[in-house]
Symmetry: C2
Subunit: 198 residues, 2 copies
């Protein structure tokens, strides 16, 4: 029985990482698949833990090799999800969760139609700006650039299966967990047989 | 924003009532819609609380009047869901949950395609028999009749959206709650807008 592929997206600063960390702590049956990127490590980020840090040349070679489930160029950097890692886990019955942006989620839906797309929604644009400033990893210009895209980003909800408001970490995690629990027992997915006849 | 219509089915003795009672206690935003029936009250059952007890004549007149969202004749008795009660609640934004059998769920899906069908699954046929005997409301002949249908009933899972194993009341309730939580934030249903822009 194949595992399920969950995708979590949302605008920068919405709290994806915090929600993901919490969910992964609670649900040991869920595994996180690290993205590859050409951007430089931020703060304490470690290669092979937070991201696979690639050079641009390595990344382009991997695209040629059809090695990504999705990839995108954002703000001048490449990001991608290594295909083989994800598919081998799913095929062995594990659930995988990915943290990708809207372009990435769209490609994943296309390349893996059974994926479950979840959009994390900010309580307000003001709150998003506050969180981005507090994170202190982006300069004002980057923040302004991100915020100028916000209406377009929020409109992308329609591409997703689920939308979860992140006004409280606890509530958002509970809702994402509910989605995971519900999708596991959706008849059309067949995964329920694994739960009923283990 | 219209509310959601949840339907809970499952073989006799699977524990539908216990799960329903628990869910309704936890989720005050969910309302239970009482069925109408021509069968006689059992034990402490009260008209207008457990069921609307109809005479056969009243029931047949209401069928003629297109007054049921679903109705069926089972073991010589009529059961039905009063249409107006359910639709007026949903249209006012409330969620409704119904406890109907497989025939009923099939009719509800047809008459209200947006309904969410949940099948409660027994841990085993032996356990089902044990629960039916313990319930002490049916004679041995009725129980045998019910159990002779069990394979056909379990095959009906394929008509449902979700299947929930009832091996532990706590786990089953948690799973049903998860389904409710997930469906509320499903983008295609539109109900999420009520949660994000209340």
């Amino acid at each position: 029985m194949v595992g399920l592929l969950y995708v979590l997206s949302g605008p920068s600063g919405v709290g994806k990482n915090t929600v993901l960390t919490e969910i992964l702590t609670k649900r040991k049956d869920l595994t996180y698949s690290i993205s590859a990127t050409t951007r430089l490590p931020r703060g304490q980020e470690v290669d092979g833990v937070d991201y696979y840090f690639f050079t641009k040349e390595q990344f382009l070679a991997e695209i040629e090799n059809d090695g990504f489930l999705e990839w995108a160029e954002i703000y001048g950097h490449y990001y991608g999800t290594p295909k083989q890692t994800v598919l081998s886990r799913i095929n062995s019955g594990q659930h995988v969760i990915l943290d990708v942006d809207i372009q990435g989620a769209t490609q994943i839906r296309k390349n893996y139609p059974n994926s479950i797309l979840i959009f994390l929604y900010p309580p307000s644009v003001q709150e998003l700006q506050r969180r981005l400033l507090q994170r202190n990893t982006d300069d004002q210009e980057s923040i302004n650039k991100r915020l100028s895209y916000i209406d377009k980003e929020l409109a992308a909800v329609s591409l997703y299966d689920y939308v979860v408001l992140n006004d409280s970490l606890e509530q958002a995690c509970y809702r994402v967990e509910s989605i995971i629990n519900a999708e596991e027992v959706k008849v059309a997915r067949g995964y329920w047989k694994k739960l009923i006849y283990p």
